[in-house]
Structure formats: C-alpha cells, structure tokens
Amino acid sequence: MAYLVSHPDEVKVVSSRFGKGAASIETYLALDGYSSARKAIELGSDGIIAEMKASNLRGRGGAGFPTGLKWSFVPKQSAKPKYVLLNGDESEPGTCKDRLIFEHDPHSAIEGVIIAGLAIGARMGFIYLRGEYRYLLTIMERAIDEAYAHGFLGKNIFGSGIDFDIRSHTGAGAYEVGEESALMESLEGKRGIPRIRPPFPAVVGLYGGPTVINNAETLATVPHVFRIGAAEYAKIGTERNGGTRLFCLSGNVERPGVYELPMGYNLKKMIYEVGGGIAGGRALKAVVPGGASTPVLLPEEIDIGMDFDQVGKAGSMLGSGGVVVLDDRVCIVEFALRTMRFYQHESCGWCIPCREGTDWLKKTLTRFHAGGGVAKDIDNMRYLAENIMGRTLCPLGDAAAMPTIGFLKKFRKEFEDHLDGKPCAYAEQGDAALAPA
C-alpha cells in the first residue's frame, strides 16, 4: 500500500485533500473543489497568467521552469488547435508523488488542466499516465466522467460558453516518454523519440498545435494557487520558488514517505527530523537529492534549502523531488552501475552519444564492479560522461551523465579501491545477495 505519512513541519497544500476521499466529486466539491476553475473563468487568459506568474510556481517535473512564463509563450492566435498535456508518466527513479495525487485527488489534476486550457485558449487537454499505473487510470477515468456529468467538462463548461474536453491516456512502459517531446510522439501513437527543438511545444506541439505540457504535480497545484491566492502561495516558499513540494523520501531512512514541505526546507532536517534519520541508526553516506539523474551530495553538503536555486548552487538539482538516502553500507560503484543500467535500458537510441555512451558506461561499470577495472577506466568514464552532456536531443543523455560525473568526482577513492581485482569492500547489501550460493 502506498500509505500516507505525516509530519508537523508539513504544509499541506497539494496534499490537503489526501486521505479524505476526494477522488469522489461530491467530496471534492465539499472541499472547495472546482471553485478555482470558476475564478479562472472570471479572470480570463491574461488574469490567469498574471496570477500564475505571481505565484512563483515552477515546474515540478525537474527543470523548474516558471509555469506562468511557460503558459505566456503560447501564441494568442493560432491556426491550429491548442492543447494542454498533463505529464503523468512519472518514471524518474526515486519519484512516487504523482501516484498519490492521482489516487487521492484526481480532480485537482483535472481542474489544473482546465485552468491551463483557459489560460492558453485550448479546447482539449490530455492526462497521460504511465502504463504501470492502471489502477490510477481507472480512478482518473471515473473522475473525468464525474466532471462531465457535472458540466465541468464538455460543452459550455460551468455555463461559461467555453467548451473543453479532457481525455485520459495510458502509456505502456517507457521512461523516455516522460520527456515532453517524446510524450507528444507517444500520445500521437508513435515510438517515443524526442523532437528537435526549436520549435518548442508552446509553438508547435501536439498534432502541430501550440501545446502546454506540465508535470502532474504542477497542474494539481494550480487550483490551490487560485484557492489560497497567488501571493499567499508564493509566501510559503522562498524567493522565486513559490509554495510547497511533494518530497519523496526513500532509501535508508527510518520513515520513508511522501512529505509536502515548503520550498527551501532544509535537506538535513528533512532527512533527520522528518524522515527520522538513517535507518537502524547507521551513518549517512550520500544523498541523491532529486531523482536518479541528479548529482549526488555528500553528508557535509546537505545543510541546504531544498529549492531549485539553492540545490543548483550546491552543484546538484532539485529535480523531481525524489530524495534518495544512502547509508554507509552502500557501494557507490554498484549504485552508479545500477543507475547506469537504468539509463542504458531507457535510452531510446536515437542520439548516438546517449545510446553508445550509456551502453559503454554500463559495460565499463559492470566490469569495474566485478573487479576487472583498470586505473584508466576512471578517467575514461568521466571523459565519456562529459562528452554525452549537451550532445543529445533530449535531457536523457545529460540525466545519465550528470550522476555518473558526480559519483566519479566525489567517490574517486571508492572506485580506486575496486582496482586490481580487489573484491568490493563496500557492498553489504545489493548484489551481495545475488552472489552464487
């Protein structure tokens, strides 16, 4: 069970309806549901975008792009229909927050899509869920049906004279499809190969029309911005980082779980107080602060505020909110290998630096961890990773390279200790369990 957790430091905005049965529209309405869409209709396009800019909400998918600004890029006039696309292809290792939104508050996602549609003048929105989330698709389909039955979707929504439709859609297993242009390809019934940009989706997106694509958490946050007011929402977070964020604590912590904390919340406090510290009272070795693609932080680097700017200054990224905690038993070489196996598996193969680079890195790390490493591998891996960076159509190449560079830079000694056929002196878990009996 994806159980809910709670901590006194939490500021429940996006999660304010979790555990309250808000998947049912009656409950959602009783909890102020769809009041924000009504407000948005009154405000109109410019008013909505102004509010979104004032909220300082930044994209929760990982890049942290200001949401209001993104919406403002969509041209007012367009010969082709415009679209809103909710990205619920949650697949970044360490990230499990959208699941809770879909399970506990699907109408907030629907309402967010409606408001985005009103902002850009779209008549249709799509809610794309990853294929593994079938039970959530069932919940979402029911919620969409309820919204149609109440006149919140379809013709003349809320009696406004505006028509707006939403379609739910399922993927079928592909991390790459979480990348915006690959997501559009997938929704068009194709292989999820990223598109060359420019043109950006705001100008040429789904079916060639201007398209806003936002992460599920971003769009589920939107109704709350209008519910509590943009200024109030912005005040919760730090400068240029409005509001709260669903942080997914996982790994070797005492109390893993998804916690909603203000942007800028101290990472050390998050691990030691909210998460109850390292499981079993062990020592902390490292933290991956924002999903598998973000560079690792050392214990002495975690006294930082968790917002896009501060984590960036510390040399990593806030990413998708997946905070993965590693204790002192973890072998970093093995961890780097597992991370690379993932990216090699998920690389769509279109761009050569990513396809060949991830494969080469996986093979080198596999050999290296098995005791077959040679000294020059260490610099070679770094050289290889650095040369993937910025040379691919989509960020998957960077996502594979960045953590690898981080591990090699910060844990070089651990790599050196694997040389000369020495058995791994670090792993007390993980693939030790896979060793032949």
Partner: protein, 172 residues
Amino acid sequence: MSAETQTLFSPGLAARFDRMVTLYPQRRSALVPMLLYAQDEMGALNDAVIAEVASRVGISELEVRNVISYYSMLHTKPRGKYHVQVCTNISCMLRGGNELFARCKEKLKIENRETTPDGLFSLEEVECIGACSWAPAVQVNYDFHENLTPESLDALLDQYRTQNGLADRGGR
C-alpha cells in the same frame, strides 16, 4: 470499419475500441492504449491482434510492430498468468530489491523473462515503478505490493499460486 463482425476481441473491448479511435484528433493516438488493452485480454500481441489493431487505427502492421518494440510493457509472446515484476532500481535496491528478485528466481525456479512450465508465473526485473517511498516493491500484473520482505514475498507468491484467480482485477 468491418471489424465489428469479425473481431478477435470480446464485444465489450471491441465497442471500447470503436469509441477510442474517435476520441482523439487523430485515430492513431489510440494505438498505444489499444495495444495494452488488447494484450490484457488476449495475453499477447500476436500476428492476428496486430493485424486487427492496424486495421482499426488505419496504419500498416509494420508501423504497429515498430511501436510495440519501443514500449517495455508490450510483448508479442505470452507470459505467465501472473507476471511478477520486481523493481531493483535504486530506491528498491537500497531496501532489498535485489534480494527479492533472487528469491523470486529461487522460488519460481525461473530466470529473468522466463515463464514457469505450468504457465502460472513469469518473472521480470523492471525499472522504477513509482513505489520508491514504499520500497521494496513488486508489481504482479497491475497490482502493487510494497514494503515486502523475502518472507512476505513468499507468502504473496503462495497466495497467487493457491488462489489462482485472486488478482483477476487486472489483465496480464
């Protein structure tokens, strides 16, 4: 199209497909969900299924095959009635995902991507399934099982084996 009269699918699914292709600005958009639902019902995307889906969407069979080969959940060969998917990605690995995977192999006596001779179970090591904060996790068909230990995993597999029908909520 004429597939209504000679469809491979159950009347419910055929009707659903008839509607799905009309829901999008382009028919082809229905392709990936259709393939997944077809697979849920038929067990695998065999040649006949591919042919019917291609005709319903209005593209060539080759184009359908190109799409199938991209998505990790789509497959052309049948799997076990219970497809056991063990996550060993980072968050699960830190909490015993590899151990669970090893236990599955031992208990089911099959390797990764194999099916038991009785066709009841198949096993696959999968990438992150979005259960990181409740790791380690396993998905059997579409059902999530989280915070597992090797012992609770044993019990879970036994439950599927004995009840053999327990989880008919999802497809395969």
